[in-house]
């Protein structure tokens, strides 16, 4: 076990390069921009007849999903394959009693099979940190979503979407709408937008769906959708889970849609060229009207395409950072006197 050196964040190597990708917290604007630039260059690969580059040839990427996923898992698989890696995907069901042991043992076993990289999704916030710190620090760990905490590749694909459609972040107003409390996507988006210099980040929802102390993200909070959407350039809708009705967070889906659902009338309050985003899967008629989801301003399917390029960028950068770190460590170890 390597303790987390306070001077060097867990996810960076001694040279400040990515070696894991756990969260957008603590990553510089330059690094995020490098990810976006790299992703841009990979987008072109997706348009070729032969959609492969040999960057990860001979490497094994394990997708370990402790939580269900279709889109994220598939795009990670495609990203790894386009980088010429060998890909294994495991859907591990969690039993509530032995969650930790399952996680620990599963990953240790995979590590023993000489995996070079783990893409992990887990229901517990901090699961990816735990793996990177305590389970297998020498394998690059990519966070595919941990609890409510972070979904950093989704955050970066959202940024790529915004940059490609809006050109940059400097003069933008971005609204994030819905269930922010339970959303790792919203947390990653807020961090990325702030780091990349977006001057006006708005969060819109009822108090029951907003976490405490949102001001720490440098966002403005609105409870009224119409007010919050006024003149924004980007609208990011969040998915509303059905179980939110049971806990008394909301009276009904109908009331939520009436107050916070995005329809064409409300979208008209945003700038005429505003784009509409959603991490998927969408709930038509719950948080978004079909006419909007399928309309001209929607870039929801572009997000999926960009997701592959962003994941290719993150996988290749983390793999090279991890490899560099291993070399550095073994060199410094061989220099030590016996």
């Amino acid at each position: 076990m390597t303790p987390n050196d306070a001077k060097r964040p867990l996810q960076l190597n001694d040279q400040g390069q990515l070696r894991h990708f756990l969260s957008l917290d603590g990553l510089s604007r330059e690094l995020l921009t490098e990810i976006l630039d790299t992703a841009d260059s990979f987008l072109e690969v997706g348009t070729r007849a032969v959609k492969k580059v040999p960057l990860l040839r001979g490497k094994t990427v394990c997708n370990v999903f402790f939580e269900n996923s279709t889109r994220t898992r598939t795009t990670f698989e495609m990203a790894a394959q386009r980088l010429s890696a060998d890909v294994i995907t495991l859907n591990v069901s969690t039993s509530s009693t032995s969650k930790g042991e399952t996680l620990f043992d599963t990953l240790r076993n995979l590590e023993a099979m000489a995996a070079d990289m783990f893409v992990v999704r887990h229901a517990d916030s901090g699961a990816a940190h735990f793996i990177a710190e305590h389970v297998c620090p020498d394998v690059a760990v990519i966070n595919g979503g941990d609890g409510r905490h972070a979904h950093p590749t989704q955050g970066m694909l959202d940024m790529l979407t915004i940059r490609r459609h809006k050109g940059g972040f400097e003069n933008l107003s971005v609204a994030i709408v819905g269930d922010v409390l339970h959303s790792r996507v919203a947390r990653s988006d807020m961090l990325a937008l702030r780091t990349l210099g977006c001057p006006d980040i708005r969060v819109i929802g009822p108090k029951t769906l907003l976490p405490a102390s949102l001001e720490q993200y440098g966002v403005r909070v609105f409870h009224d959708l119409a007010e919050g959407l006024r003149d924004v350039d980007v609208v990011i809708m969040l998915r509303l889970q059905r179980e939110r009705m049971q806990g008394g967070l909301l009276p009904s889906q109908g009331e939520f849609y009436r107050l916070y659902g995005l329809n064409t009338t409300r979208l008209a309050l945003a700038k005429p060229d505003a784009i509409v985003m959603h991490p998927g899967p969408i709930n038509r008629g719950v948080e978004i009207e079909s006419a909007v989801a399928d309309g001209a301003q929607s870039v929801i399917l572009n997000q999926v395409t960009y997701g592959i390029a962003v994941r290719m960028a993150v996988l290749s950068m983390a793999m090279s950072g991890q490899t560099a770190q291993r070399q550095l460590t073994s060199e410094s170890a061989s220099e030590e006197p016996n």
């Binding site: 042991e101 887990h122 916030s125 940190h129 735990f130 710190e133 976490p211 405490a212």
Partner: protein, 423 residues
Amino acid sequence: MRIRILGARVIDPASGLDQVADLYLADGRIAAVGTAPAAFEAEQTLDARGLIAAPGLVDLSVALREPGYSRKGNIASETRAAAAGGVTSLCCPPLTKPVLDTPAVAELILDRAREAGHAKVFPVGALSRELAGEQLAELVALRDTGCVAFGNGLASFASHRNLRRALEYAATFDLTVVFHSQDAALAEDGLAHEGPMASFLGLAGIPETAETVALARDLLLVEQAGVRAHFSQLSSARGAQMIAEAQARGLPVTADVALYQLILTDEALADFSSLYHVQPPLRSRADRDGLREAVKNGTIQAIASHHQPHEPDAKLAPFGATEPGISSVELLLPLALSLVQEGVLDLPTLLARLTHGPAQALRLPAGRLAAGAPADLVLFDPQAATLAGEHWLSKGRNCPFIGHVLPGAVRYTLLDGRISYQA
């Protein structure tokens, strides 16, 4: 065994004594402070010049994990760890398996503790059977076996009516009830103090109201039942304020705080380290400061370790899947001295909260350093330092302070006039 302790600075918070004096111990008791009793011939002399002698520390909550959780700790290992922390008397909570709700379990614990001989153990019995909050445990039988108070841990009662009845029954026999006030529904699934850190990390929050709402209810029921009550493990400044108000109204209520709550805040969670996963949670800096103030002004009479040892696996998982608790009883004195070093408390006040204060709260025959009292005391060097974790006696290594250099070092702990720990 007759022991002479030479030249220590003797601090006894109960009597206000604070002077350099010799101590004479005989037959398990303190024979004299200052001048030797007539014809006293010491069999052993401890040169304690430069050391401080204080009553042995009284820790109101040390989970011994026995019976039922021997993978986490046992009576011998945890009482031995306690002696290293300067502790001579401790209370163990009823969360054993089986639950400490029958005299048989209490007897087992007391027998094993006597056998081990590292510290005096005063069990806190379960207020309800199996801690289920429905049927009362046999409180009087438990008292007669040696339980000094009764509590239900963080488990709540099935209804306020059942709780009220339990308090009235306890009041009938002048028993003390120990509360860990936390509303189960408001705290449900919570992992960390509801504030910026929990929000940022995506950990479900436990709002301050989880403590204060339960505390308000408990205080009202305590007042109605007229029962002696001790509120354990306060975590919020507001909670401490409510205790102060109740005391001002004349209610017979006392309170304790976990030592780690006076040192750490929820900012410690930033790296998801499960070592900081505790229940009730670490709260904000303002809460910590409020708790410190309450300890200083005496609203909170006792500082306890709330020692909860765990096996490594219990902490080896993502934060939310780990078991809460910190193992720290063997650092009780040096860790507490860090509050003096930081200027939070003066030394006599700190020692009062670690000896006489807790002993009074649960009416324990401990916490005094005077002629005639049991010879339970700690000798420590205030100038030395303790490297936490250099030696480790508890079975639980789940302690975030391991590796820290702490002020002061326990040299001897004496229990009934014999050395129970020597550095």
